[in-house]
Point group: C2
Chain length 469, copies 2
Amino acid sequence: MNRKDKIVIIGAGLCGSLLALRLAQRGFKVEVYESRPDLRTVDISAGRSINLALSDRGFKALRLCGVEEQAREICIPMYGRLMHDRAGNTFASNYSGRENEYINSISRGDLNALLLTEAEKHTNVTIHFNKKCKNVDLENNIAHFKDYKTKEEFKVNATVIFGADGAGSSLRKSYYLERKFLFSYSQNYLNHGYKELEIPADKSGNHQISNQHLHIWPRGDFMLIALPNLDGSFTVTLFLSYNEGEFNFANLTSEEKITAFFEKEFPDALAIIPNIKEEFLNNPTGALGTIKCSPWSYQNKTVLMGDAAHAIVPFYGQGMNASFEDVTVFDAVLNENLEDWEAVFKAYQKARKQDTDAIADLAIDNFHEMRDHVANPIFKEKRKIEMDLEKTFPTKYFSKYSLVTFNENIGYDNAMKKGRAQDKALLNLIAGNEVHTHLNMTKNELKVILQKVIIETNAILEEDKIAGL
Amino acid sequence: MNRKDKIVIIGAGLCGSLLALRLAQRGFKVEVYESRPDLRTVDISAGRSINLALSDRGFKALRLCGVEEQAREICIPMYGRLMHDRAGNTFASNYSGRENEYINSISRGDLNALLLTEAEKHTNVTIHFNKKCKNVDLENNIAHFKDYKTKEEFKVNATVIFGADGAGSSLRKSYYLERKFLFSYSQNYLNHGYKELEIPADKSGNHQISNQHLHIWPRGDFMLIALPNLDGSFTVTLFLSYNEGEFNFANLTSEEKITAFFEKEFPDALAIIPNIKEEFLNNPTGALGTIKCSPWSYQNKTVLMGDAAHAIVPFYGQGMNASFEDVTVFDAVLNENLEDWEAVFKAYQKARKQDTDAIADLAIDNFHEMRDHVANPIFKEKRKIEMDLEKTFPTKYFSKYSLVTFNENIGYDNAMKKGRAQDKALLNLIAGNEVHTHLNMTKNELKVILQKVIIETNAILEEDKIAGL
């Protein structure tokens, strides 16, 4: 491990560009190869995930790289969910009882542009666009590329290659296909896909619905969500089964059927999505997949990072945050001054893998929770109690959502285990009539509930431990 | 779906040959293609899994096909585990408190030969050996083969193709590589591999250690097991990490190291494995992988069955049983007279998938239990109580092991959920000093324990349900 090592990063997306910035700050010489054109000069969003939720784990990594404040300038805070029913009634549900805990809508393109520009300010960083990695020769550590402009193929030899090339990673594919080692790998798709639509700004350029919320239209088998953009518009995403249920992507094939579906299920949203038919028929339907694998690295040569190592579904709003947190964790491992890259890669996976596995599972849980549980009375009661507890005992109670989203110094795995036990405790206390709520709970009443939750949570964790779970 | 349909089965292993037999009995015309030579004429075991555990789910399928009694004739009953410590002391632990519940050691080759011979008795079955499937053209339903003898390549068109071609299935690989649909897929390897060794018969052809037990030498990080063969020998399997811990496959590279390892850890086994050095150095090291995937079928054309759809690790002794149970479940779906093969395939997966997922997870659990928990005092106490409960209340109490292994009319998934809750209940009752045992428990004392276990188990299941688990 040496400042003269030639480091190649495949992918200049959110993870690759932040990683390039951080490695450059640490003095490494970095070459980045990106398959797409430079998004600062060409619009390449093509109806896909154009805004994302940025929260505390993401900010921690941005802070490490000195770009937190710049990122905050392009953020729109969202303080909670705003649920829309079929009649157009709305119900707010905050993300936390603490005022400083909120998530942020941010443009993927704007944030990526910021990171690219910051990385390129370092003379030891070069970014090559339109260069698609085809595969990596693992033994010789040579990455093979195709230049999308000149159509030429070329190869690049490196000391170390980082695969930050996203869910469809070429490096990961080479791990799978070259079979040089036992490669544990999973790709799991939901039976739902997604499609993006748009609520434009009003004539004055303002948001037509609250820009302080993440909007949700939960309907059990399917769901619509909307996140605000800086220009007054919202990016709307429909999550719908490919082929199951009364309505699905396979049968919503005509303008009439699409309109009828939205009129029945989302009339208030339909009223402000003027180009519904064109967008629905022309925008691509994206798949929702979870990818896990192990090992992430091969010898002292290559390592996977970000979605390439652990792509997740979007329902916890943590995909980008988890990828950024990879950079935080990798940077901390570099601080340990281990003997070589292989030791670094192994220490990195050891420190990181259980947490990325946990957020993958949490994101799947939230898919079910957002579609179903938000309408379940016991779950609603639980959220109310949790808001009261967080407001009244801000240093003592943290819901699972808060542990995952706003507590960047607790790993995802710990957040999951603690959070799940706490959820189970609270739901069972409510179902068993052991806690009761009313509109204006006193501090003493809440203190009794807090004690019960703590005792029950610890009992659940202890019982699981004894059972070897 | 028609008796004239041309049915091709890829693979004439345990699953493929039983499936061929059953489909032939139902009047279908079946062609089977197997990559290996006919094992009735050539010894092809090559130091790999030469005996297996057959139990009630397997027998149920064999019964359906009329070959149960023939299989029983080549079985050696194993009534429990016999644990060996480093000093050579042994401790027996029965599989059940009921006398009629035991598992059976059986030769993979002998059972496969039996099934091939029975299948071939049907004129509507043809089996082709030495024909390796390279891939399947999914759209045109054409399987491509290579003849290992003539080296010629040829293709076979079929109405329906069954991929019963094991953990390395070519059909499954085509699902993965052709990307015609979203294919959820996982391959997960343990960090342990396995190697087979042999305890030969004594001079009179008898077993040198008890042939009524499955022998286990549990050592935490690694483990040796032995299953008896009809010829008086035992097949011994060492499960050991590839590269972790003091001893592993990567560092046991010389005769001295191998002998020193066995002398320290397994002295009583070493004394009766005369060819330890040759076998250890020459026999292959096998990988331990779990494979899950979905969907198992494509349109009305192809379907995966057995290990090709759900390979599992061997620690619950259920791999073969699960594959045979596939045939039972598929046969029951055929009885429903659905409209076409696509409907059959979908109904089959719907009926089967959660159960094969469950046994995969149970087998991983048992890997940990066999290495670690068998020496844990609370787990030992639990086994003692369970034996007493099963003996005293044979129609009322069934341990997880019994639910999984001896209750073929309960699906693996139900067995897992009930069994896990029961284990958790019992372990926590013991740890909390809420149940006590002594050498000669009275029926009334056991009845009190049974009641507590039932109440606690139901409470655990109810609490999980409320928490949405």
